[in-house]
Symmetry: C2
Subunit: 511 residues, 2 copies
């Protein structure tokens, strides 16, 4: 390899100052991975039938009277807070639920299409703590929330905003003002609203609609925001979750329904049993949205992993997690709805375990044909912490997956008999072939944090591991302007609205 | 979740002392992942045709006169050291090459079947340096070689022995005695022999045949050892590699033919071009084995990644590496031969980059339908170093892949309407269902190094990251007896042979 290495060094001197000209669309991704089945069609059918039995015979506990009333009017049998839903009601809901949903954002090129076959990523969400190598592990703050929003905005491969971190230094009655304003002013991506009671939800919708400058009809016609609705497994729909399903459906905004089930704890210990339960709960929640408004935007979803049976601790990125994702994907294809899956890690820091778990769960989601992969970057401690370094190192993996979505060509130009292969003698090199000269600055993905330097060069540069380099990456992003264009009037109106509502005492979360 | 957590803790007190009873076969793996195509059948056909053109029109430089003569006798055109091979010669070789190869080991349950659809793993191989957190990064020694062999023997998911580390403190004229004796006495798995000239190869075969106690006919009928044959890209077959192909084929031992090509350096910059070149080189080498002995055991292979065009440094676990694996898999399925692919990492330490790259390359190999994944554990710095910690953390991932190979059931028992789902009230837990009680000690994979403890418990236990825990794992293995049964007579005979040959001056490697 010695002659080759010399030539490589020559190439480096010529090109080191030229930025890469590679341009790959990381936004409009279609999943190129062949879907993998873990169960036969008959087994999936048996699980689907058992889910109907669960809903009809065992029932779902619904804690919100308004939701119980909606189910009752549709023909469900109600006993106190137990709702028993017949198959016909669910089948009608599945017929009405849209198979394609377009989410509207601040600019057309950030709009999202939710349907089977698409692929989108959301970073880790819902953590009470944030961690990074500069500040350490801390309860989430407004500053963390802004930092995560800026980093999200910076990477096209993160398709949706996420409530990555709970800003606990902002009072709960005005927190939704802060989170909505931050999302709208630091990003033009699809924003998230927590379903913590109708007052907060309606105020958030109002802020988003006005800031986006869309009419009531436009706001109702396509979702401009979304929420994640977790059931309380097994078989319970609590008040804020049921209220969220109703509020979002009524206003045409997107609910992503996700039973979060841990095999061996709040779900059966088997993949088949846990996904059957999760499926039943998702069908109940989806049905509620369609009873509120036929055609309301709703995504199917699952987040099913296992506990460690020795300690009871949740585990992520395990074989059972992977297989549960595959099974949920089969269910989603059965009912035809766009759906979310999830990666994640149980590790307490961004180490090799964290990387391996997250990527293992990611491949489960990809092979399962997920439309949206939630918690695909930055999630540690089973969701108790999000890490800025992990956000960067996971985005590297997501970028590489997005590169795979772009595919490869193999025309005569790429095969290169005439412009490459026939130009090079045995044991020669390809640095100067016409094919290489044409492509050297566009052919390969250029990493954001991975480092290919040999150990001598790497040591001279400070022997920084991936986390140290990731720290540099996120600090540069956080220190920069995000470059989101903001209409001055809209910003003023938003801030005036928030000031007015805050003066009135804000809106406390409901539970 | 509070009631659930209490119950989980109750479960822990009852079961913490019980070892897992889970028994999954990690040896006989069949690849369960649907093969992924990166090119159309037409494009693959065009690449295959171009490979024939390369061999016929551009030719291969062959440095070993004996090999040139074999090609010439078969009808190839020869000009000095350039050999031009016609399509008919290659087609005949592909017809003769076996589609199924059984590799024989020290015990029947370690025997290997090489064919499309199977899945085997070999750890990182060929490194001049070893690294671990105890000794740091050092030139490889005999002690390192023994350590890597013991760790390999300990994990069923590593199917073959590997020349992980070059024991540089053993003189080169007797090094093959040391490596063969170490492999045979510390392991009963499929051993590796370097093709460094006929004298070393023949002595190694003799040691293995005698130690295994098999007749000449048995040794010739099935391979009892293997080598990796790298071509010198582009289009060069050097003396030791050509000699290895001849010696192994003549004696019925396994050659795994692997052009190691870096896109943009010793191969075209495109995936299509690089795989076309790699395919041509592999076909030439496979053809040589079949000309020596029709039906000789040989595996197709590729190891194709890209260089970083800014620095010329090799990169691994990249999108181009992944796509090259897919393309090679399509080629392997076209010709029907078992084949090897490769994972690996360019990182300089076992950090998040190392984990992400290795797993990304692994998934490329899995989706490509590789029969053997080489460098699947422990490989750093693009092969300049193997790491004992990385060996452990990568084995964790391989174990989880092996778990996926085992699949899942979904009978009524697993779906669990009667033994689980109907036993639990809304918001209850599944710890005490008949289904859970029957399975709590067998249902889930139990990790070797991943830690699911929450941050409080984890901190109390010393806040060890995955590398620190991996250090404990390999040190325990290295400190233990491997438990390989050795026939006293065979050991004595092997040592007597080595003493005799050493006294005669050993056998120097040839190049």
């Amino acid at each position: 390899m010695s002659s080759g290495e010399t030539s490589i060094r020559g190439r480096r001197r010529r090109t080191a100052s030229e930025p890469s000209k590679r341009k790959i669309n990381y936004h409009d991704l279609r999943n190129p991975f062949p879907p993998m089945d873990v169960f036969s069609a008959d087994q999936i059918s048996a699980m689907h039938e058992t889910a109907f039995r669960i809903l009809q015979e065992l029932g779902v506990k619904v804690l919100l009277p308004e939701a119980i009333e909606i189910f009752r009017k549709a023909g469900a049998r109600v006993e106190d807070d137990m709702v028993y839903i017949g198959r016909d009601v669910i089948d009608a809901a599945l017929t009405n639920a849209p198979k394609t949903i377009v989410g509207k954002t601040g600019v057309r090129e950030k709009d999202l299409t939710f349907e089977l076959g698409r692929l989108m990523f959301q970073p880790g969400a819902g953590a009470p703590h944030a961690t990074d190598l500069v500040r350490g592990r801390q309860p989430g703050t407004a500053q963390h929330y802004r930092d995560f929003t800026k980093v999200n905005q910076n990477f096209d491969v993160l398709h949706m905003l996420a409530p990555s971190i709970e800003p606990q230094d902002v009072a709960t009655n005005v927190r939704h003002y802060f989170t909505t304003e931050t999302q709208l002013t630091l990003s033009n991506k699809f924003p998230f609203v927590f379903s913590r009671g109708t007052p907060q939800v309606m105020e958030s919708f109002e802020m988003i609609q006005n800031f986006r400058g869309v009419s009531d009809a436009e706001f109702a016609a396509n979702p401009h925001t979304y929420s994640i609705i977790n059931t309380n497994s097994p078989r319970t729909l609590d008040i804020p979750m049921a209220q969220g399903l109703i509020d979002f459906a009524r206003c045409g905004q997107l609910s992503i329904v996700t039973p979060f089930t841990l095999m061996g704890a709040m779900a059966p210990i088997t993949v088949a049993g846990a996904i059957t339960l999760s499926h039943a709960e998702a069908l109940a929640a989806i049905t509620l949205t369609q009873l509120v408004k036929a055609g309301a935007p709703v995504c199917y979803g699952t987040f099913t992993s296992n506990v460690d049976m020795k300690s009871g601790a949740p585990a992520f990125g395990t074989p059972s997690h992977y297989q549960a994702s595959l099974a949920a994907g089969q269910m989603a294809r059965l009912i035809g709805l766009p759906w979310r899956c999830a990666a994640g890690s149980a590790s307490n820091l961004n180490d090799v375990q964290a990387a391996n778990e997250n990527q293992f769960g990611l491949w489960g989601s990809l092979m399962a044909g997920a439309s949206v992969v939630i918690h695909s970057a930055g999630w540690l401690e089973g969701g108790l912490t999000v890490s800025l370094e992990k956000l960067i190192t996971d985005v590297e993996v997501l970028n590489m997956v997005a590169e795979l979505c772009a595919g490869q060509q193999a025309t005569a130009d790429e095969i290169g008999f005439d412009n490459a292969l026939s130009h090079v003698d045995p044991s020669g090199h390809f640095f100067a072939t016409p094919q290489t000269m044409e492509r050297y600055n566009t052919e390969f993905y250029e990493p954001i944090v991975h480092d290919y330097a040999n150990i001598g060069t790497w040591t001279e540069r400070g022997a920084k591991d991936a986390n140290a380099r990731a720290t540099d990456v996120w600090q540069n992003i956080v220190a920069s302007d995000t470059g989101v264009e903001i209409d001055g009037d809209k910003l003023e109106a938003l801030q005036a609205y928030i000031a007015k509502q805050t003066a009135k005492g804000g809106a406390a979360p409901e539970s």
